[in-house]
Amino acid sequence: MIFLLTAVEILAGEVAIIAHPSVKTDSLDKKQLYNVYRGEVRSWKDGAKIKVLDLSEKGETRESFYDYLGVRPSRMNSLWMKQLLTGEGNPPDKAETQQDMVKKVMATPGSIGYVDKELADKGVKLLLLIDKKKDKDKDSD
């Protein structure tokens, strides 16, 4: 049963947190990732500005990413909205598709984004791998 479950998870795949190759940081943990995405942390360790990218395409990848962070996308959107209205900062730039996301990460120094692991092999820096959330699991939640 456990083997079967593991196999299904492997099949479901992983989400990769990727960054521009120039980024010095090699890895991030969950808390750091959350703080970056909610706009609390705005620069890398070396002082370089962080450019946060979000996926506007709805689906498994986005759901799994925010589920990992422990926050619903609508809630994250509300946080960004507040920052925008109070002038604290802008919401992340949007990438329409995952391919678009990879391109934007590659094109923007200091950027951070997320895509399916299979797509993250074109010279981007891999910071973290997240197990994809299964749709079936989600349903039974």
Binding site: S74, R75, N77, W80, K82, K94
Partner: protein
Amino acid sequence: MSFRDLKLKSKQLLAFGLVLVVVLGASGFILHRMAGLKESFDEVATNWMPRSVAIAELSQGISNYRTLVLQHILTPNPLDKKSLEKRINLQIELIQDYLDQYESLRDLSKESDLISVTEDSLYNSFDSDWDEYQSVFQDWFLTSKQNQSEDADLLVSVESANPLIAGEGAILHENIRWTLEGLVESINSEAQSAATTAEKLLRTTRQGLALLLAISIALSGIIAITMTRLITNPIKKLADATEAVSQGNLELKLDMPGKDEIGSLAQSFDRMANSLKEARHKTEQQADKLRQQNSELEATLTQLHATQEELLLKEKMASLGKLVASVAHEINTPIGTVISAADVSERALLKLRNSLESIISAEQLESNGQLSRSLSALKDNARLTITAGRRISSIVQSLKSFSQLDEAEYQLVNIHEGLESALVLLGTQKLAGIIIVKKFGQLPEVGCFPGLLNQVFINIISNAAEAIFESGTISLETYTQANEIVIDISDTGIGMSGERMKSLFDFGFSANASRVKMGTGLLTSYNIMQKHGGRIEVESEVGRGSTFSVILPLR
């Protein structure tokens, strides 16, 4: 151990225990139902209603948010825009609060599995729309900021193209509104069904309660009746039995086998009645025995009297016999002389008459009246003397035979002689006016004490004569029957009543006490017959006469 064997206390405890169990059961049932009801009410109060309220508030909050956003878009004044932005920000926080509130409620309800699939999917759809709506607003906001510095105239065209007023945002907002309405409806319908369930529970609880109440009342009634039957009825039975026993009915038996107090009381009662019965029975037995002994004593006394009488009589007879024997002997000689003298006188007279006739003619003799009369008178006297003498001789003979009784000699005797002898002894005076009829059959000689037997005959014939007042008949009939000799002595006298017949053989029965006590009652006769192994039977009818049968066995 059956129920009836229990003590009263145990029975009562059992009965009250039963009632207690029923009441406890009822209470438990009610409490259980109450808990169920509370749960149902709580479900409505802490799940459905708050969730419904949270969604309604959320809906209101989002409507306000949209209003603020639209105002922000349409306001040309930058200052107004700024204050609206603050208000939008606050509204977002408010909406966030509503969302948090709803989600925490939803998570709680999910634990108790009180979320419908519809609600869950509706909320997810709302969440997604809400996310999208905010993204649209963000996009527009960023775009409008970049265009701020540009020509204000362009504003109208920007506004008309604003996806928030018409286009995508409007559709999203419409979706959100419908979704939230659907959510409220769904929650409310669930709440409604929960309320219906609760109401149903309440109704069934009420019905159950009524049923339990009825059962409790019925059970109490049954127990009360049973206890009454167990206690009152046996006590009444006991009281009735006591009454019956006090009135002397000792045959009564309660037969109540119970082992309780009443049962043992009943058993003690039965034992008491039984011992009373036994005591009475014993007393009766003793009384019977006493009576028997008494009658035995009486019989013995009677026998004693009879024996005494007999002894007395015997003695009397013995002396009388001696006297008679000597008198008879003394009289016999002169009487013989008288008879023979009279006989000689008669014959001498005959000779004298013949001699006289030869001397004088018969005519002369006849004509001499005096002589003739003297002669015939002498002749008659001589005849009379002979007759009287013979009678005296016969009386003496009878006396002699009578006097033999004390000798108590057992001899073979002709019964007929005894009867004749008795008739002679009784004499003409006693039997005056009475016709004696003799129907003697052929009898063998019988072994007996003739003196005693004669006494019996005299006794019975004398009694028969006494029963006849002026004239009548005494029949003497003898015959044999089946090894017995029967002597029937019947009279046509006054007869006897049954009462008198009963006391016939009692001691002292004698109608005439002044008579010579030859027969001291028939008792002596009875005793004599017993001595001979015989008996006396009597038949009598008042006004028709009596028959005494003297029966002797042939040996």
